[in-house]
Symmetry: C2
Subunit: 123 residues, 2 copies
C-alpha cells in the first residue's frame, strides 16, 4: 500500500500554489540560475523574490548554494516527483474504480441480453 498522506506534500503543493513560484520552478527546470536572474521576469521587489525562494527551498523543490556574492539555485527533481506521484496514484485509483464499474455494467448488460433475470451479487 502506498503512503497516501505524507505531511511533506503540504509544503510542496503550498509552494506550487503561486504563479511566481511556479514560474521560478519552470525557469529552474531549464537549468540553474542566480537570484537576480530568477527575479528578472517578475515585477516585484528582490526581498519578495527571496521570500518566494525560501518557500521553495523549505518545500524541498529548490536548493541553492552561495558562491562569492552570488547564490545559485537549482531544481530538486525528487520533490517534483513526490508531488507528481501522489497525483498519479490518485488518478490511477480513480481509473481502477472506473474500470471496475465499467466491467460491472458490461456484465450486467450481457446477462440481461441473455436471460434478463440472473444478476451478480457483488456490489
Amino acid at each position: 500500500m502506498l503512503n497516501h498522506h505524507p505531511r511533506s506534500l503540504d509544503p510542496i503543493f503550498q509552494a506550487l500554489a503561486d504563479p511566481t513560484r511556479r514560474g521560478m520552478v519552470a525557469r529552474l527546470a531549464q537549468g540553474p540560475a542566480s537570484v537576480s536572474e530568477l527575479a528578472e521576469p517578475f515585477d516585484m521587489s528582490l526581498p519578495a523574490i527571496v521570500q518566494h525562494l525560501q518557500v521553495l527551498e523549505t518545500s524541498g523543490l529548490v536548493a541553492s548554494e552561495k558562491i562569492g556574492r552570488v547564490r545559485t539555485c537549482r531544481i530538486e527533481p525528487q520533490a517534483l516527483l513526490t508531488a507528481r506521484d501522489w497525483l498519479e496514484s490518485q488518478r490511477a485509483a480513480w481509473e481502477a474504480r472506473f474500470d471496475r464499474l465499467d466491467a460491472y455494467l458490461a456484465q450486467l448488460q450481457a446477462k440481461e441480453k441473455k436471460h434478463g433475470r440472473k444478476r451478480k451479487s457483488r456490489a
Copy 2:
C-alpha cells in the same frame, strides 16, 4: 508550445496543500461519497469540512450534487490531470536539459582524449 502558467493551477495546488483536503480527494478517488461520509475520518466540525469541500469545488477537483438532503461528491479527474501534467512537463524539461548537459560533457571528454572511446557518464 505548452502554456506553462495557467492561473487555474493556483486554486488546484492551493486545494491540494492541505492534508484534510488531500484525504478527501483520496477518498473520492475510490468513489463518490456524501458530505458526512467524507467528514467521518476527520476530527473536525462539519462546517469546517464543508469549507474544505468548497475549496475543492472551486478548484475544480471535486463536483457535487444534492439529492434530497444528501449531497453526493465525486472527483473531477481532469483537474487532477491538469496538475499532474504541469509537474510532468517540468520534470521532462529538467531531464531534457540534464541529457543535453550529459551529451555535452561526453563530447568534451571525447575531445580531450582526442582518440578516446565514447563513454556513458550516466550509469
